[in-house]
Symmetry: C2
Subunit: 224 residues, 2 copies
């Protein structure tokens, strides 16, 4: 047909714990030229297996999946398979998260409440080596400083690197566990668990377990 390069189709891995969303994505992609979904995954473990097994070009990743402990997962995959581009698909529109995802190596950031057409635009942009941001979060990246209310929140709007342990703690807090219970679960001192939590709240500028919980849930951490 065209005098372009080879017609090698662009291959996708779809990672989302909701079968319906996977189905929707597959159908959307199947309507596009020269694209094919070569793997699906409903949780982090399955995803890693698929990433290792297949040699896909693009991963569409739901940050809210079980076993996908947020942003860290992106860097991990980028490190494992650098050629695999990652487009994040999530309900989370926090500037913090958007920036963190990009810094971790995501090539695109789509939101679940966005226009489905954005998927095509994102794929196009990413294939060309660019980066794509959903319209709903495009503001997140521009002018991080110009805040109508330059509140205390301003200084943590920059991507906050959480340590692995802190992520672990965050997930447990999100499940409603008390410091003591977390300590038991992890086999550490309750005081240490408390300290981790304190550090978390400091980094995130949150001030109660409830706020932490809300944050964790919005991040897509499992809540039960």
């Amino acid at each position: 047909m065209n005098g372009d390069h080879m017609n090698r189709p662009l291959t996708f891995i779809i990672a989302d714990d909701h079968a319906l969303v996977r189905e929707g994505l597959k159908m959307l992609i199947s309507t596009m030229d020269n694209m094919s979904v070569v793997a699906e995954a409903a949780d982090g473990e399955a995803l890693l297996a698929q990433v290792a097994k297949t040699r896909a070009d693009l991963l569409i990743l739901d940050l809210g999946m079980p076993g996908v402990a947020g942003i860290q997962f992106i860097s991990d995959i980028r490190e494992l398979v650098p050629r695999l581009k990652i487009v994040v698909l999530t309900a989370n529109i926090e500037p913090r998260t958007v920036r963190a995802a990009l810094e971790a190596g995501a090539s695109g950031y789509l939101t679940k409440d966005g226009d489905p057409e954005e998927l095509g635009e994102a794929i196009e942009a990413v294939r060309k080596g660019g980066t794509y941001l959903a319209r709903t979060v495009r503001f997140a990246i521009s002018e991080p400083s110009r805040n109508s209310r330059p509140s205390a929140a301003a200084d943590i709007l920059s991507p906050v690197p959480l340590t692995r342990r802190e992520r672990e703690i965050l997930a447990l807090v999100a499940q409603g566990l008390t410091a003591r219970e977390i300590a038991e679960r992890l086999g550490i001192s309750p005081l240490t668990a408390r300290k981790h939590r304190e550090n978390l709240m400091g980094k995130l500028n949150l001030h109660s377990a409830a706020e932490l919980t809300a944050y964790a849930v919005r991040l897509g951490l499992p809540t039960a």
Copy 2:
């Protein structure tokens, strides 16, 4: 029998705040015979408008939508338009919620992580006047009493009616507000706010603000 279903197509309203899920649903439905989606809505207000305007047969309702304050919404719509059957589509698999949805008048309960084929099965069952439960929640309705561990949870697994005020409090707790802040917000005594919260936790068998928050978020209440 009625030869009713020969010509007239079954009409749908799809209510979900995620465009992608709506798209997936539309595509799935479009592959079925004699079915058509006549309206979509991304929030509660738009949904009510569509419900009033169109005369659809079946509503596929995401309980997690903004402006859809949970189960109550189902009874409201059932009351407004009794002929409109409702199939709930949500990520929430709590037995409590499943039962409450059915009691409120839902004809079906699908989960987002379920098999997409269930949608077809549900539609079929509901059209015949029956009720459909996703496989992932079918356990929820069977034998509420026979519990392997007859824990204290047993007696609140039945649908818990929350008062208006309690819902209000729940939403504020979910936002990470302290009892005092809630009191200020509502212009009542901090002690009263605490009492409401106690009652809530009692009804829901939860034991911390974090658990309450997680619950509220899963219910689809706004968290920020």
